[in-house]
């Protein structure tokens, strides 16, 4: 081991409390499990709510698939209902499931324990954050039960159609949607400030920035993105609410609707699109960066090998985060923009592929000659590399204006974004749950069910989305209730749609196995040791499993090394925990 280590890094080492700091202690049952201020409980609350509402979104997607595969076979799926499913499915999956799960769920659980802190720095705000999120979900769900039902405007909520009669849910649905988003953003901001300041100021001694596990880096940068980008959604929500409720014309042009001249005039739907995508594109990375971080750690742990190019990985995360703010208009190529703008945004979009590709190379190089353990989390992590590369490549197609124009609003786009921001992050979510479940509950998840879950989900996702690319090339449009007799779409497209729907139903049912596994293992799973994967990071070095209140014992751990000391030559184990002092 090297001895030359007197780099001046230590002068940045933030101190951390030793022993019991002023921790919040719950006195009542309600305070301990319901209005808890312990980040770990809040994390579980977040995860539970997010997965529950995610299941709703999953069912909605299956309903859509039923209609697409077997047109008009189910009388309750009316065109109105179909649009409502599309909208709610998209919005729930992106915002209420993935954002909440990665940042609120994994962020809350992992940040404090991975950086060696006892809790988040503002526990009370943290609790509020969850409850506001919960209320936001309740408001969203309520829109299923109001007159007119939920909004059917598509998850992009483009005005003017989001507001105009004829679109489902213009009575109440759209208002509840906007209010719910507003609440989500307020709640998220409270949580987000916590995550950022905890990473910045609550790291334990020796935990320099460059010793943070990549999971923390991913969540940290994603949180910064979210804090800066969600205001754009907030701004569009506020202005749209004013347009709906008070008759302003921020986004609403002069219109004749249902034969009547409306009061609106002069507003710009394009303005909305700019604001929406200024949030919308970073949002892709808000769910992708935590996934990147987590997958890096999964690969490294289960390949028993240091992550390849740690510093490059950190800088790639930062670069992707920064660049993600200057590509938004690639979602607006068809809005009639100035060609020079299109050129600019196509260029930036393609540039973002550079740091992203670097990350992919580094993941693959981490596996290269590693001592790969094919555990369930590892399967999911490797599956992620496949689906992500796949979705990333079609992204390069769509990033080019000329290619995007004919493909825009076809099933090709649906296939692309599901590969890159639905399947990929979800695979990481699964991998992460299989990886950390033993720490959170003290039990291992059942391997057999895990393998079943992986293979059916992975192959099934390909069965769903691969053919969709082809449908897109044929010109099958997205967000269509039914295709009718369209000349350019051959009859075979209908059979393909059937096959896709059957695959989707199988994938959907597979998720029940996963849920069953979660519950079954809670009671019957193998007892997990403190560190079942022989990992180096601090969450595996806690005195008890699951970690108690305050995470660590009497004294906070001291960190001596980075998180990737796997298979170090000359060491007696194939991993060295971060808090293990050097041999002298």
């Amino acid at each position: 081991m090297s001895t030359a280590t007197t780099h001046d890094e230590t002068s940045y080492v933030p101190p951390a409390e030793v022993g019991e700091m002023e921790l919040y202690h719950a006195k009542t049952w309600l305070g301990k499990y319901v209005f808890s201020q312990d980040a770990k409980v809040i994390a579980i609350q977040y995860a539970f709510t997010a997965i529950a509402i995610g299941m709703v979104a999953l069912v909605l997607s299956l309903l859509m698939r039923l209609q697409l595969g077997f047109p008009n076979a189910f009388s309750f799926i009316t065109p109105t209902a179909y649009y409502q499913y599309v909208t709610m499915h998209g919005m729930i999956m992106v915002v209420y499931l993935l954002t909440a799960l990665f940042l609120g769920g994994f962020g809350n659980y992992l940040i404090p324990v991975m950086v060696g802190a006892r809790d988040m720095v503002f526990p009370f705000l943290n609790m509020l954050s969850f409850w506001i999120y919960f209320l936001a979900v309740v408001v969203l769900v309520a829109s299923f039960f109001v007159p007119g039902g939920p909004s059917g405007a598509g998850w992009t909520l483009y005005p003017p159609q989001a507001i105009l009669e004829g679109t489902p849910g213009t009575e109440w649905g759209i208002i509840l949607m906007l209010i719910s988003l507003f609440m989500f953003i307020v709640g998220f901001t409270m949580g987000g400030l916590n995550y950022v300041i905890t990473v910045l100021q609550a790291r334990t001694r020796g935990m320099t920035l460059m010793r943070l596990p990549l999971t923390v880096w991913g969540i940290f940068i994603a949180t910064i993105l979210a804090l800066l980008a969600f205001p754009a959604l907030l701004v569009s929500c506020i202005m749209m609410l004013l347009d709906i409720l008070l008759g302003t014309s921020f986004f609403m042009p002069a219109l004749v609707s249902m034969g009547e001249q409306l009061e609106y005039g002069g507003g710009s739907p394009i303005l909305f699109q700019h604001l929406f995508w200024f949030f919308g594109h970073p949002e892709v990375y808000i769910v992708a960066l935590p996934a990147f971080g987590i997958v890096s750690d999964l690969l490294s742990v289960h390949a028993r090998k240091a992550i390849f190019g740690y510093r490059m990985m950190v800088w790639a995360i930062v670069a992707i985060g920064g660049l993600s703010f200057i590509v938004w208009a690639h979602h607006m190529y068809v809005s009639g923009m100035n060609p020079y703008f299109g050129f600019f945004f196509a260029t930036t979009t393609l540039i973002i592929a550079v740091p992203t590709a670097l990350k992919v190379y580094n993941w693959v190089l981490t596996l290269w000659r590693g001592n790969i353990h094919l555990t369930v989390p590892m399967y999911f992590a490797i599956g992620f590399i496949f689906t992500f590369v796949n979705g990333g490549l079609t992204g390069l197609f769509l990033g080019n204006v000329t290619v995007d124009l004919p493909l825009s609003d076809t099933m090709f786009v649906v296939a692309h974004f599901h590969m890159v921001m639905a399947v990929s992050p979800v695979l990481v979510v699964f991998g992460a749950i299989y990886h950390w479940y033993p720490k959170i509950t003290g039990r291992m998840l059942h391997d057999g069910m895990g393998m079943f879950h992986f293979w059916f989900t992975f192959i099934g996702s390909y069965a769903i989305y691969y053919p969709m690319h082809y449908l897109g090339f044929l010109g099958v449009p997205r967000r269509y209730f039914s295709l009718g007799n369209t000349d350019f779409i051959p009859a075979s497209a209908a059979s393909l749609n059937q096959a896709i729907s059957i695959a989707a139903i199988i994938v959907g049912i597979t998720q029940l196995v996963f849920i069953y596994n979660l519950v079954w293992s809670l009671f019957n799973g193998k007892k997990a040791s403190d560190n079942p994967w022989n990992a180096t990071t601090l969450e595996w070095q806690t005195a008890t499993t699951p970690p108690g209140h305050g995470n660590f014992g009497k004294e906070l751990p001291k960190v001596f090394r980075w998180a990737y000391d796997y298979s170090v030559p000359g060491a007696d184990k194939d991993f060295i925990p971060q808090n293990e002092p050097p041999r002298s």
């Binding site: 001895t3 720095v121 804090l227 754009a232 008070l246 920064g322 703010f325 001596f560």
Partner: protein
Amino acid sequence: MTITLIFMAGIMGVIVWWLVKQTINVQPWIADTGLIPDLDADAILQPRAKSGLLAFLAVVTSMFCLFMSAYAMRMSLGDWTPLPEPDVLWLNTGLLVLSSISFQWARQSAKHGRDVSLKRGLYLAGALSVTFIFGQLFAWQQLAEDGYFLSSNPANSFFYLFTALHGLHLLGGLVAWIRAAFRVWSGVEAAKVSISVELCAVYWHFLLIVWLVLFGLMLST
């Protein structure tokens, strides 16, 4: 979106600069050999609440930048008729400046343990802010009397929107102010409220700057 992009570039610049400072020349794969020096907790880090506030201000700045971008974009469309800003706004601006100054005074007093002037500064700052809010409401009333309603022109819509948002942020600040003022009133010593007063002061300076920018933008267009 230029305004927002400039802000984002600034933020990214800060983040990157700070990261470079922390990460350049660091070889993370090399473990420490010696002991890690125990640093004094307060010596280096600013209070967490203050960092939290600063981060929050970045979020709010992002929001106001986006509103201003929207303003600029909406303005360039044909139907924009600038509205005459009521004169009372100048008076309100003065009030807000004064309240910021009194907060600064309270902050200094708290820091140096001067209980009496802390009290005066804090109460005065709050009173001025409340007056400011009423002043803004008065401006609204004047505009409405002259027939400038929220939805009659986008310039009006933005005026009401900006003043309302700024006012709501100030009201939020007043909640923090009430807590601090109550503690001072009930006789808590200056050193103990020092941090709350400081946070209030920073927040008020921030809102003053936001107001000056918004007011300037609306006056000049």
